[in-house]
């Protein structure tokens, strides 16, 4: 579905990813894990054209989408949920979702997508007229995901959805992610929380210093290198 070939990208002329190859197949969840500063978020941002791309190609459904503008990517079926509960805090929950559909002109599709999303996240429906800043942390993260889902994506990019959430809420979010995936949406999830991400993912890539050092299924957790990076203390 999405293929990345020998990608070099970064910020302000400083290369962060040094030739990454990556692939996700339809209806897959792929996790990207790795230590801080390894370039996990940069990989997502490269797909969504939010950083500088120096070489390589990003192919989505046989189309080269490298460096395409955002609205085009959304139309193609890619949606992005940035790190850290990024919402419009002074807009209501409903207005946040409306902004998710900004590039769509069809009001009927918007209404349908919103009611789909509300059935997935009933708490957002209850609070649809509240300002987003009054939501709890978990609800804000759900809203950020919901805002991407109203775009009806085929591929969802999630950047650290569990960041700063209580374990119970985190579990809820991960369950939602699996649920969304079961409806046929491919998901790339970048996580600090390696164990949980690997467990819900079909495959996992491990990034270190801007290169992929390991790729595999759930057995990856048993790999010595992973144990050293993450679970050394356990």
């Amino acid at each position: 579905m999405l293929k990345i070939k020998n990608l070099r990208s970064g910020y302000n002329g400083i290369e962060v990813l040094h030739g990454v190859d990556f692939e996700i197949k339809p209806a897959e969840i792929v996790a990207i894990i790795g230590p801080n500063g390894s370039g996990k978020s940069t990989l997502l941002k490269s797909i969504f054209n939010l950083c500088e791309i120096y070489s390589g190609a990003i192919i989505f459904k046989d189309k080269d989408i490298t460096k395409l503008p955002t609205h085009y990517l959304i139309q193609e079926g890619i949606s992005y949920v940035p790190q850290g509960r990024q919402i419009f805090s002074n807009l209501t929950v409903k207005e946040n979702l409306e902004m998710g559909c900004f590039i769509m002109d069809d009001h009927e599709i918007f209404k349908r997508n919103v009611s789909d999303v509300f059935s997935k996240f009933p708490v957002l429906k209850e609070r649809q007229n509240d300002l987003a800043l009054h939501l709890s942390g978990g609800e804000q993260q759900m809203l950020a995901i919901a805002r991407a889902l109203v775009q009806d994506p085929e591929l969802l990019l999630l950047d650290e959805p569990s960041l700063g959430l209580a374990p119970k809420i985190m579990k809820e979010i991960f369950e939602k992610i699996v649920e969304i995936n079961k409806e046929g949406v491919s998901i790339i999830i970048v996580e600090q929380n390696a164990k949980q991400a690997v467990e819900i993912a079909h495959r996992t890539y491990v990034l270190e210093n801007g290169s992929i050092v390991l790729e595999g299924g759930k057995e990856i957790l048993k790999d010595e290198r992973i144990k050293n990076i993450y679970f050394g203390g356990e």
Binding site: T70, H71, I74, G84, Q86, I87, N90, L91, Q151
Partner: protein, 294 residues
């Protein structure tokens, strides 16, 4: 006396509110202080003078053209100056300096074209005031208050109900997320300049009719608009409107205690007090608390 000061405060507040609302709309969306907003006001007044008093066009038609002219000049200032600076990654301080430069540039241009003497549009003959509640108000002043209130209500509904209005609030709130959902912030910046400058144009026309035109009128008004915005909360349009009326009342009731020449001083004193003790204004906006896509 009290009623007269109240009405005078209301008239001043109505004008300041028009200045401050456009100014803080642009500030909240684009996140920099656009002092040249003042000169857009002056440009509208002088353009009306040019069309109506010199060329001799129909009054209604001149007014419409003057509003369009104001809107267009705001739009072009953004496109030609600010946008190019942003492309070169200029920070907000540079944009602020550019806006002061634009203010001085256009004021000088008005000075060269029209001269330093005071101009009168002279459409409305000095009318006898009407007496309401022992206070005197002219028909034009009633029009000023009415136009101001209607415009502010329309602006409020525009921001709440329309797609562009909501997108403006979204960009004001979190520009990075707005980009992620496909809202082009540059386009929304343009919209804020078009709408804010149109309101400034209307303010310029009303001031031009009520008082006179002079090249420095823009600076005088933007100082009041800026003060009003600081009082109310610069990134909140309703806040700055509240601040505008408070400033109008403070200035006019101040005359009770001070000679009327101190009117402007009152505005500055209030500005300093707020900058020192409550720089976020009465209505503090809660957005943008360290929320950035990194």
């Amino acid at each position: 006396m009290f009623n007269q000061l109240l009405i005078n405060g209301l008239i001043a507040g109505a004008i300041y509110a028009l200045v401050a609302s456009g100014f803080s709309l642009i500030y909240s969306v684009c996140k920099f202080v656009h002092f040249a907003h003042g000169v857009v006001i002056a440009l509208a007044g002088y353009f009306l003078y040019f069309l109506f008093s010199i060329v001799g066009l129909n009054f209604g038609f001149s007014i419409i053209l003057a509003i369009i002219f104001a809107s267009l000049s705001g739009f072009l200032i953004n496109q030609i100056v600010y946008r190019q600076l942003r492309k070169r990654k200029a920070g907000n301080t540079i944009l602020l300096i550019a806006s002061v430069a634009l203010l001085i540039f256009f004021e000088s241009l008005i000075l060269i074209l029209f001269g330093a003497d005071v101009k009168t549009i002279g459409y409305i003959k000095i009318a006898k005031g009407i007496e309401i509640f022992k206070a005197i108000i002219t028909p034009l002043q009633i029009v000023i208050i009415a136009v101001s209130i209607i415009l502010l209500v329309v602006l409020f509904l525009f921001m709440k109900k329309t797609k562009i209005g909501k997108a403006m609030r979204a960009v004001a709130d979190n520009k990075d997320v707005a980009e992620i959902v496909g809202i082009s912030s540059e386009k929304i910046y343009s919209w804020s300049f078009i709408i804010g400058s149109a309101i400034a144009g209307i303010a310029g026309i009303l001031v031009g009719l009520e008082q006179n035109l002079e090249p420095t009128m823009g600076t005088n008004l933007i100082i009041k608009g800026f003060t009003a915005a600081i009082i109310g909360g610069i990134s909140s349009v309703p806040g700055s409107i509240l601040g505008a009326f408070l400033l109008g009342f403070a200035e006019n009731f101040g005359i009770w205690f001070l000679p009327s020449g101190y009117k402007d001083a009152i505005a500055f004193i209030i500005l300093f007090i707020f900058l020192l003790f409550r720089p976020q204004g009465i209505i503090a906006n809660q957005s943008g608390k360290g929320s950035r896509v990194k």
